[in-house]
């Protein structure tokens, strides 16, 4: 059923199709409509779930953790300051190995306060033990919420997962989305039957317990191994979804016109769509440019990025956030994966900070800069602030 809907509606609809049992959420711009739509579905009697109105995001995540620990399929959504307020409990969710799914509408984290697209809210959570997916359009929002439960609940994974979508560019913008029929969703995503630790009054137990040094190191190892193992599951789920519904997102990364590319730009989120157009335009001019859409920052697609670097002469990484004193977080991740595996120039392009529009000309600049780096074999400028007043780019 094709409908013209916002990214927030697509997320809420997918949660309904996933037949989530518990939603505990607190409104925050630009996420609010996700939980408002869910409350409407519940009110209209078309969604059967326990909807818990909590007093903060800290409580939202706490209630979601508790619900998931009883074996319920649990859902919440947040953005920006709300995600920061959840920070403490995010580690509880991953440490207790709970397959919670949470769309995060990436928005500026204050100060200065802003409500537009920026990824500085999710980047500090890279170490929280959550799988981090980044999506490009509203169809992918819908599809990834459904895929997220399959990935998170897989016995080889059992980790929580965030589906990151750009504020307003997706959350409040309508696009045609193929909304899944309930029987198709049920076929793809059966109900959740936890086989690991879960709370049951018949079998009292403590989870997330006080754990001494004799045990905690192996616990950390297991969580790391599960995150590494999720790479395989992400690919399998992607392939199965593609087979069933004809939409293939490529797994951990999607390459676009990379066949004979001399330079590659790595993107995250909605900028990917703009970059596709720029690649087409530059290809028409005979420039051998290609695009790699990085779909996951956790687990990091290390092998895929190394493979890209082995095929090109220069690589650039787009970021919509800055880690002060270093550079963009996606750049830090890519450079870390590539260390010792390549000698090609690697550069970082910061654009769209605080929700500023990223124009075709901005991305054209990035590709032309990469082509120059490829020719000289040197990095002209490591960290390039695109379209920033008073700063030479």
């Amino acid at each position: 059923m094709k409908r013209v809907v916002t990214g927030n509606y697509a997320a809420a609809f997918a949660a309904m199709r996933a037949r989530v049992n518990v939603v505990a959420a607190f409104p925050i711009t630009p996420q609010t409509f996700i939980v408002e739509h869910i409350s409407e579905f519940v009110n209209d009697g078309i969604m059967d779930c326990e909807f818990i109105r909590v007093e903060s995001e800290h409580s939202a995540m706490s209630a979601t953790v508790s619900a998931s620990a009883t074996g319920a399929r649990a859902f919440t959504a947040t953005a920006s300051q709300g995600l920061a307020l959840m920070h403490e409990i995010l580690f509880t969710a991953s440490g207790m190995r709970l397959p919670i799914v949470m769309p995060v509408v990436n928005r500026t984290l204050a100060a200065p306060i802003g409500i537009w697209a920026e990824m500085n809210d999710v980047m500090p959570e890279r170490d929280a033990g959550w799988i981090l997916a980044f999506v490009e359009d509203n169809q992918e929002v819908h599809d990834m919420v459904l895929q997220a439960y399959r990935i998170a609940e897989d016995n080889r994974v059992l980790l929580p997962m965030m589906v990151n979508l750009d504020a307003f560019i997706l959350s409040h913008t309508v696009e045609p989305v193929d909304l899944m029929e309930p029987e198709d969703a049920d076929r793809f995503l059966p109900s959740y039957k936890p086989e690991h630790a879960y709370l049951d009054p018949e079998r009292p137990m403590g989870v997330g317990i006080f754990t001494p040094p004799e045990y905690i190191q192996e616990e950390r190892y297991q969580t790391h191994a599960a995150m590494e193992g999720s790479k395989q599951v992400i690919k399998e789920v992607n392939d199965e979804f593609a087979k069933m519904f004809g939409r293939d997102y490529g797994g951990l990364v999607e390459e676009y016109r990379m066949d004979d590319a001399e330079v590659a730009l790595l993107t995250l989120g909605t900028v990917t769509s703009t970059a596709r157009e720029v690649v087409d335009n530059l290809r028409a001019e005979g420039k051998k440019v290609g695009l790699v859409k990085v779909r996951f920052l956790r687990p990091y697609p290390t092998d895929e990025i190394r493979s890209v670097a082995s095929r090109v002469k220069a690589i650039g990484i787009y970021d919509r956030a800055i880690s002060y004193g270093v550079g963009g977080p996606a750049y830090i991740e890519a450079r870390s994966a590539l260390y010792g595996h390549t000698d090609i120039p690697i550069s970082n392009y910061l654009a769209g900070i605080g929700g500023r529009d990223v124009m075709l000309s901005d991305i054209e600049f990035m590709f032309n800069d990469l082509l120059k780096n490829a020719e000289s074999g040197k990095v002209r400028k490591e960290l390039v602030w695109i379209n920033t007043r008073g700063v030479e780019q």
């Binding site: 190995r97 059992l158 630790a197 009292p204 137990m205 403590g206 317990i209 190892y221 297991q222 599960a226």
Partner: protein, 103 residues
């Protein structure tokens, strides 16, 4: 078989936390003077460790059955779990709980 195959994926305690005898941490012991106690249940409500239970033993005139059911119960301290924090003594509106140093 590796050690990792034998352990759960997240640490689990097979007993609830009531198995922890936290009463051994106590320095001061709360003692309820039942002559003064009005069965208001404030201590029961405030105890952060759920170490005050309500047990039969009240002798109050009640105006209706629901209240009678409640006031028929008196607060009793579970010394196996009470850590002696003194919140009950602090909150008691009629000073019916004394904190006495453990011997």
């Amino acid at each position: 078989m590796s050690y990792l195959d034998e352990i759960p994926i997240t640490p689990i305690a097979d007993k609830p936390s009531t198995a922890n005898r936290t009463g051994t941490w106590r320095t001061f012991r709360p003692i309820i003077e039942y002559e003064k106690c009005t069965r208001c249940m404030i201590c029961w409500k405030f105890c952060p460790d759920v170490a005050i239970t309500l047990e039969n033993g009240g002798e109050y005139e009640a105006t209706n059955d629901k209240i009678k059911q409640m006031v028929d119960k008196a607060p009793v301290i579970d010394y196996v779990h009470c850590k002696g924090c003194g919140i009950c003594a602090n909150e008691c509106p009629v000073n019916a709980i004394q904190m006495v140093k453990e011997g």
